[in-house]
Amino acid sequence: MSVRTEAVMGTLVSIRVAGSDAAAEAALDRAFGWFDEIEARCTRFDERSELRRLTAQAGTAVPASAILYEAVHFALLVAEESGGAFDPTVGHRMEALGFNREHRSRKIVASGIANTSGVSYRDIELDPGRKTIRLRRPLVLDLGAVAKGLAVDAAARELEPLRDFSIDAGGDLYLGGMNPEGAPWRVGIAHPRIAGELIDSLRVTNKAVCTSGDYERRAANGAPHIIDPRANAGAGMVASATVVAPTAMLADALATAAFVLGPADGIDLLQRLGVEGLIVTRELVRYETRGLRHAA
């Protein structure tokens, strides 16, 4: 068993693989390489990133790399499916709430885009043939959740030949194969109100498990960092939303959507899309999809 931890994408990424030979080390190198590559393209905190260059050219159809195109395409699909509960154009509201500090330089980053009221994901236009992205009006794109999930999935693909592995990207997980005891991985779900405690646990294999919660990354005024795009305020009812899905990109985006939608609509969305999940309200009432206990 070999474990490597690096600080990337504003969090700590830790990967465990079976074995510690040259092949395992090379796969770890390639896996971590994806985090750097995807962060460099999709961060909204660096004006040289491909994402920031795109947002500087509103009105123009800009040719996009495969990574950026897929990230935006995916974000728009989830936005559509969730009726806008997940919306990658919430960036300006993130800035307004104080989520605007670049994690390496500690500098405050401002997009310089003054008035983006009424902006939504519908202001983004994709051309699937030419692989271009056009922003119909100036807006701030936030691909944070999608980019991290995409990096986890790309890393998982690199690690598949090793069969048994786990990826932990700041609490967003992908579990490949079996745990060191040869059984499906045992995944604890953090208790949203009691630090260090678990509120539940699941057995999974070859699945991603991602959680959105109101207990980390609070803004200065106490608002949680998941913004309800439809209300211009933080989501209100949910303390924690966990999704188990075939990919981390899907699990992460849907955990955000479920957090925003609340327990009833959130569980409906997850069941409609064929993924499993657990939603815990601020009163610590639990809601789960029918197949959650059989996710492994």
Partner: protein, 64 residues
């Protein structure tokens, strides 16, 4: 503490954050040891108190 360019353990050198330091102090042990006896790993909302992250990045940079 860094060993071979990797973090073996970590502590907060300076607590420069809008979070209370009590919250931050709970995080470092999780870098070296995040597993409880009953589970292999834990899913949680993104664990990234900024000051802690900066401390880790600084520690890694110094190890290079």
């Amino acid at each position: 503490m860094i060993e071979g360019g990797r973090i073996a353990s970590a502590r907060i050198a300076d607590c420069e954050t809008r979070y209370s330091c009590d919250v931050i102090d709970k995080l470092p042990p999780q870098v070296a040891e995040r597993q409880s006896p009953d589970v292999d790993t834990i899913s949680r909302a993104t664990q990234s108190s900024d000051a802690f992250y900066y401390a880790v990045v600084d520690a890694l940079a110094k190890a290079k």
